[in-house]
């Protein structure tokens, strides 16, 4: 190897949105630098200005087709604050929670089965034509059937609460526009037994995979970091819909705890780098060098004190036992954490469906108008922040969005580099399978690059190899 090289993986596949990876190799063939680039820009934060406040939850959910409910609800929470509503009627809050649990469930199921499971079931370096959901269905038809029906169940919950499976209109400022009819409730309840069994089986599958491949999991893009999540006010339990901000360090020590999320801009800073449209947030008190952190299912397992549903909490204890009760840092453990949350959502959905408040008729509260609103939620991929200012005419004048994948930007880049060093350094030939290992690391975060840049699209991957002078010398592109 006499000359430095640049590898480009473009597009990254089986993730949401468009991105590319560039890997710089030095003259000896060692990985010098590796980056995940988000190369799209959509500008939601700009063009939402001038729109009317009650339109916002409906408009911004169009950021994404995978987890629009997260944006819908985060924006609705911000608008609750603007219309002066600090406490929703019980029916409204519970309908929104039901919508959110359905959303997290279907998104996690989609990610695990449709996007990630081919890597785990067939191996990272299996032939590319093998690594897709259709091969999973062909080889394990029952698993494939459950994947489709579990996702459908989550989507049915969304439809029951928002009117449509994708991009509905359920949450409005100060409340919700519908309750849950008894017949719809009963139709959902009839499926819950299967959902719980299947969630437990899927959880066992990923747990067993992790324990069987412990060395791989512990050595694959595993590095310490801090973690950020909402936790329930008071007791620090997992709460995907509402709570206060908590950040823990790599040993589980508190960086800040039970912080009111409307102070997020005092706690977090968004850094900008020239080569990506995705920002790099960091914890202000730790500075740009040490202040990066991760969010998402694993971050939540690490940050919360407990889960308030028994099956999911027992599963969480098993996950944490792998690191003696300390935070679990292995990036592939995200899959385990994700399936724990699927089980948690099923348990929560069961409790909510038995709650008569869902048939209540007090749907909307009113209050005294404010100029500013901040809504924070734990989306499937992690913490999600929506911040708006609205003028006296009800028109938006300012918008700032920090989405889960943006929180994870530094972690994603470090994971790309860690795997590139492991798989590509000093290799005379770069194979497609090696490049897939880079994608496996990216995929573990379940990134939504569309949301991160507020951009729309399928998720292609580009890998470029550059020489030391920055000239592209090799290039691989994957179509979406």
């Amino acid at each position: 190897m006499s000359e430095p090289r640049l590898i480009e993986i473009s597009p990254v596949t089986r993730v949401e949105g468009h991105g590319k990876v560039t890997i710089h190799l030095d003259a000896e063939g060692a990985v010098d630098e590796a980056r995940l680039h988000i190369v799209e820009f959509r500008g939601f934060e700009r063009f939402i200005r001038g729109r009317l406040l009650w339109e916002v939850p409906v408009i911004v959910q169009r950021l994404c087709g995978i987890c629009p409910v997260s944006h819908h609800l985060a924006a609705a929470k911000a608008m609750d604050m603007i219309v002066g509503v600090d406490e929703l009627p019980p029916t409204a809050e519970k309908m929104r929670r039901l919508m959110h649990y359905g959303q997290v469930m279907q998104s996690h199921v989609l990610h695990f089965f449709h996007l990630a499971s081919p890597d785990l079931l067939f191996g990272f370096q299996a032939p590319a034509e093998k690594r897709n959901i259709f091969e999973v269905i062909a080889e394990q038809p029952e698993l494939g059937r459950r994947a489709i029906l579990m996702r459908k169940f989550g989507q049915d919950i969304i439809e029951a609460t928002a009117g449509k499976k994708i991009h509905g209109t359920g949450a409005i400022p100060g409340g919700i526009n519908r309750n849950l009819p008894i017949e719809t409730r009963d139709a959902l309840l009839a499926q819950l037994g299967d959902m719980e069994t299947w969630a437990q089986d899927a959880l066992a599958l990923v747990r067993d995979y992790t324990l069987t491949n412990l060395d791989l999991v512990r050595g694959f893009a595993a590095f310490d970091s801090s973690y950020l999540s909402l936790v329930r006010t008071g007791d620090g339990a997992l709460d995907l819909y509402h709570g206060n901000l908590r950040a823990v360090d790599a040993e589980g020590g508190m960086i800040f705890d039970q912080a009111d999320y409307t102070r997020y801009h005092e706690l977090l800073v968004e850094d900008v780098r020239s080569w990506s449209y995705m920002k790099f947030p960091f914890i202000r008190s730790l500075g740009p060098g040490e202040g990066w952190y991760r969010v998402g299912p694993l971050a939540r397992m690490n940050a919360v004190d407990f889960i308030d549903t028994p099956l999911a909490e027992a599963a969480r204890q098993k996950l944490l036992a792998q690191n003696h009760g300390m935070p679990q840092h292995a990036v592939l453990a995200n899959h385990w954490a994700r399936l724990i949350e699927v089980l948690h959502c099923v348990e929560k959905i069961r409790t909510l469906l038995h709650d008569p408040d869902l048939q209540g008729t007090d749907l909307v509260a009113t209050g005294t108008r404010r100029q500013e609103g901040i809504g924070v939620i734990e989306a499937p991929r992690g913490n999600l922040i929506h911040h708006y200012e609205v003028d006296e005419n009800d028109q938006v004048t300012y918008c700032n969005l920090i989405v889960s994948t943006t929180h994870n930007n530094e972690g994603l880049n470090r994971a790309v580099k860690a795997v590139a060093v492991r798989a590509l350094s000093h290799q005379p030939t770069i194979t497609e399978g090696m490049l897939n290992e880079v994608e496996v690391a990216i995929r573990a975060y379940d990134p939504c690059l569309s949301c991160a840049t507020h951009a729309l699209g399928q998720m292609p991957l580009i890998v470029e190899i550059m020489d030391a002078a920055g000239t592209v010398i090799d290039h691989r592109t994957k179509d979406s």
């Binding site: 001038g50 729109r51 009317l52 009650w54 339109e55 939850p57 409906v58 408009i59 169009r62 928002a162 009117g163 449509k164 991009h167 509905g168 209109t169 359920g170 409005i172 400022p173 526009n177 519908r178 909307v364 005419n393 009800d394 028109q395």
Partner: protein, 237 residues
Amino acid sequence: MSAFRFTIDGVEIAAEEGQTIMEAADEAGVYIPRLCDHEGLRHQGSCRVCTVKSDGRSVAACTQPAAPGLVVENESAHITKLRRDLVEMLFHEGNHLCPICEASGNCELQAMAYRLDMTEPTKFPYLEPCRAVDASHPDIALDTNRCIACGRCIRASLDVDGKGVFGYIGRGIHRRVSVNGDNLADTDAAITDFAISNEVCPVGCIIRKREGFATPIGEREFDKALIGQDIEAKRDD
């Protein structure tokens, strides 16, 4: 007043002297598509969506008087195509982003597109207007990017409310609805005006503040039936 009969698409219609083709058709349960015409407002005949062939001549059914023995063609393939093109041009003239519009499901333009099988507007170039939303009034906002210049608000405000809040400005393709002042807050518009009621503006241009998206999907007017089916339900056969 003398009674007479004429036919629409071969169906015999009873009419009385002074009735328009559309009035007689409505009473008989025959729907003729329309956008600028609305019950309780004087006829204007400007949108041309109600165009029919009357004894072979193209006329606006909302303004053309019915006459004994007329042979009217309403839902032929030729006329439906003309109507679809007219509706499609309205989509191209404005910014009709149904997925984020609070009128979606209650919008007569959207409902007409569904009735006429307009699956997507693709034939003509988009004009992409970029007009600022007028949200100056405490209870009402105007997004004229969605205006189809039907003039229903003009007639409602002038003839029913006795105010004249709205009027046309410009000519030809630039003709559009404006308010009688620098902005809506300068006018005497009130949320209780008939012109501001949900039934007058057929699209999402006149916005009653803080009411958007309160009706769930599935319960909006055109979630339940195609536009015009309320009239067709009156038909005997």
